[in-house]
């Protein structure tokens, strides 16, 4: 067998061992299942929902305020649209928000954290003090401010959250880098003539990956909650496109008689955030064992 093939088999067996330990953790598996189901549902929404046309401005007054039934799983809203369909489509907005916010915040925060932790001195002072200032602003307040100045829509809200979310990643990566920088393998790489780029991204960053994976997974849940709060306040995506937060908000005016209109979309938010949190906890358990090994 060639060296490449041997390497492949070894990597595969390592991955398999990790998967085996992960799959023995029931809560982690529940979390993973929820996340996968939600992502698939969001992608396949037009195919799996019973009334895909109800996403838009459809009116069917004969079927308004119907309770959950076999025909309408989550009941219908005040203009007779199927709430289940709108919830599944609402997942798309929540997941998109999480991907965009974390997709910008993680690379940005990670690079800043690595730089601050590795170089120290004035680089550290500048980066970490700016981080502290940004940490002091609640994302929700920032989003409200941005919406007030610009206009209340999804893009602006995402920008506002992403502009603050990187701070947590900077803090995390900074503290890990500080620990790793003094380890002998970093000094060894320095004496062997490795470049700064190599040391930062090939020696230090791989040691941050497990912490980053846990943080990201837990963050997905939080970002989704913040996003839902924003659209509940009317700062998210604008009607008629459904969003979980907007659904809760519009259903809230018909409480308690037509409870399903806000409670069931609310449960969907809970379900999604719970899934990511369980997944994050499971990953943390997995990596804790690995680090002890």
């Amino acid at each position: 067998m060639s060296d490449e093939a041997v390497a492949g088999v070894r990597r595969l067996s390592n991955a398999y061992q990790n998967w085996y330990r992960f799959s023995r953790n029931p809560t982690a598996m529940i979390g993973l299942t929820i996340v996968i189901v939600c992502i698939l549902a969001a992608i396949l929404a037009p195919l799996i929902t019973p009334y895909p046309e109800h996403v838009g401005a459809v009116v069917n007054f004969r079927a308004r305020h119907l309770p959950p039934s076999a025909e309408y799983w989550f009941g219908t809203d005040n203009v007779g649209r199927d709430i289940f369909t709108r919830v599944v489509f609402g997942l798309r907005v929540s997941l998109l928000l999480a991907v965009v916010v974390l997709g910008t915040a993680i690379p940005f925060g990670t690079v800043l954290g690595l730089l601050a932790g590795y170089y120290g001195g004035w680089v550290e002072i500048v980066i970490m003090r700016v981080t502290d200032i940004a940490l002091a602003i609640p994302p929700l307040v920032m989003a409200l401010a941005v919406a007030a100045v610009l206009s209340p829509d999804l893009i602006n809200s995402m920008m506002a959250i992403a502009a603050l979310w990187w701070t947590w990643h900077t803090r995390l990566i900074y503290s890990i880098t500080r620990q790793i920088r003094t380890q002998e393998f970093v000094e060894a790489a320095e004496t062997l003539g490795a470049g700064r780029f190599h040391i930062l991204f090939r020696e230090i960053l791989p040691n941050c990956v497990s912490a980053l994976a846990v943080k990201t997974s837990l963050d997905c849940g939080f970002v989704i909650l913040v996003g839902a709060s924003l659209s509940f306040l009317g700062l998210g995506i604008q009607p008629p496109t459904p969003d979980l937060g907007t659904l809760v908000a519009s259903g809230a005016s018909f409480l308690p008689d037509y409870w399903w209109e806000s409670v069931l979309p609310g449960c969907a938010i809970l379900f999604l955030a719970l899934g990511f949190n369980l997944l994050g906890d499971g990953l943390r358990d997995l990596f804790d064992v690995e680090d002890v090994r």
Partner: protein
């Protein structure tokens, strides 16, 4: 006479002591005007207890810590003030093999760092890695393993292979065996002796283990509180130590035979115990109090 491989002249390093407000209130002299000279192909042993400045000297040679004063000349070239990179002439094997290899990178990836940094052609790296592993008597397929899959001795061999990758002339060994089992220690030392002969290496061997040094080093320097208190030919220093601190170090080596017992220098016992270095030196300077001392042979 040929040019020495390593020459250190009046090397000093002091660390500032700061108070709670960040104001410098004093300094600790970690290394104090140390001079030494290692000839080509020699093994120089630097002995001393923890905190005596051994590792600081190693770090200064490697450019990891800038010296406060003095000069370091490796193979005729001064390395002081070169921006912290000592180049390819000197390489270092670190004390703890557990932390000197990146836990997230395979042995092969770790070994390719020096190759990539010094422009070794990409398609030849795999072959060179195999060659390096063979040099330290490890099978070539170890390149796919992660450090946690190796024993301490194997890790230290990988660390040695990595240091040799850039074909250095001087190898600085900072307590290379202190984290290993005694049986593994001997094998690693044998390997180093063998490599030194084959690759024409010069060693600076830093250790507190005097019995190891007696077998391995041709010359020794004894470091106490940042100063070399005694230096010279290994056999001469060990048989006839001139400085009390050297005697104390030698007397502290555990022995198992009568013959070894006779080689031990005589040191005074304070209250029936081997004294600490500070107490002994104070005693010799006549500053000792009323403690009862007895001159005995060995302990």
């Amino acid at each position: 006479m040929t040019r020495p491989m390593l020459e250190i002249a009046d090397l000093s390093k002091s660390f500032p002591v700061r108070n709670a407000f960040g104001r410098t209130v004093g300094e600790v002299k970690a290394v104090d005007r140390v001079s030494l000279r290692i000839e080509r192909g020699c093994v120089y042993g630097l002995a001393g207890e923890s905190g005596s400045g051994k590792s600081t000297i190693a770090r200064m040679i490697m450019g990891l810590t800038p010296p406060t004063a003095g000069d370091i000349i490796i193979d005729g070239e001064s390395v002081v003030g070169r921006g912290g990179r000592s180049g390819v002439k000197a390489q270092m094997v670190f004390q703890n093999p557990g932390s000197s290899l990146n836990p997230r990178r395979t042995v092969g990836q770790s070994l390719s760092v020096p190759l990539a940094a010094h422009g070794h052609p990409r398609d030849d790296r795999q072959r060179r890695i195999g060659e390096l592993l063979e040099m330290v008597q490890l099978p070539a397929d170890f390149s796919q393993r992660f450090p946690h899959e190796l024993s301490g001795g194997q890790k230290q061999r990988v660390a040695i292979a990595r240091a040799l990758a850039v074909a250095p002339k001087l190898l600085v060994l900072d307590e290379p065996t202190s984290a290993l089992d005694v049986s593994v220690q001997a094998k690693v030392i044998d390997l180093l002796v063998d490599l030194g002969r084959r690759l024409d290496l010069t060693f600076l061997f830093i250790s507190h283990d005097l019995s190891l040094m007696r077998n391995f080093a041709q010359e020794v320097g004894v470091l106490y509180r940042g100063r070399i208190v005694e230096a010279g030919d290994t056999a001469r220093v060990f048989e006839n130590p001139q400085h009390d601190y050297t005697r104390l170090l030698l007397a502290s080596v555990p022995v198992i035979s009568e013959e070894e017992e006779r080689l031990r220098p005589a040191i005074p016992l304070i209250d029936g115990e081997i004294p600490t270095a500070e107490k002994l030196l104070a005693l010799r300077q006549g500053a000792a109090g009323t403690e009862t001392t007895t001159e005995v042979h060995g302990s």
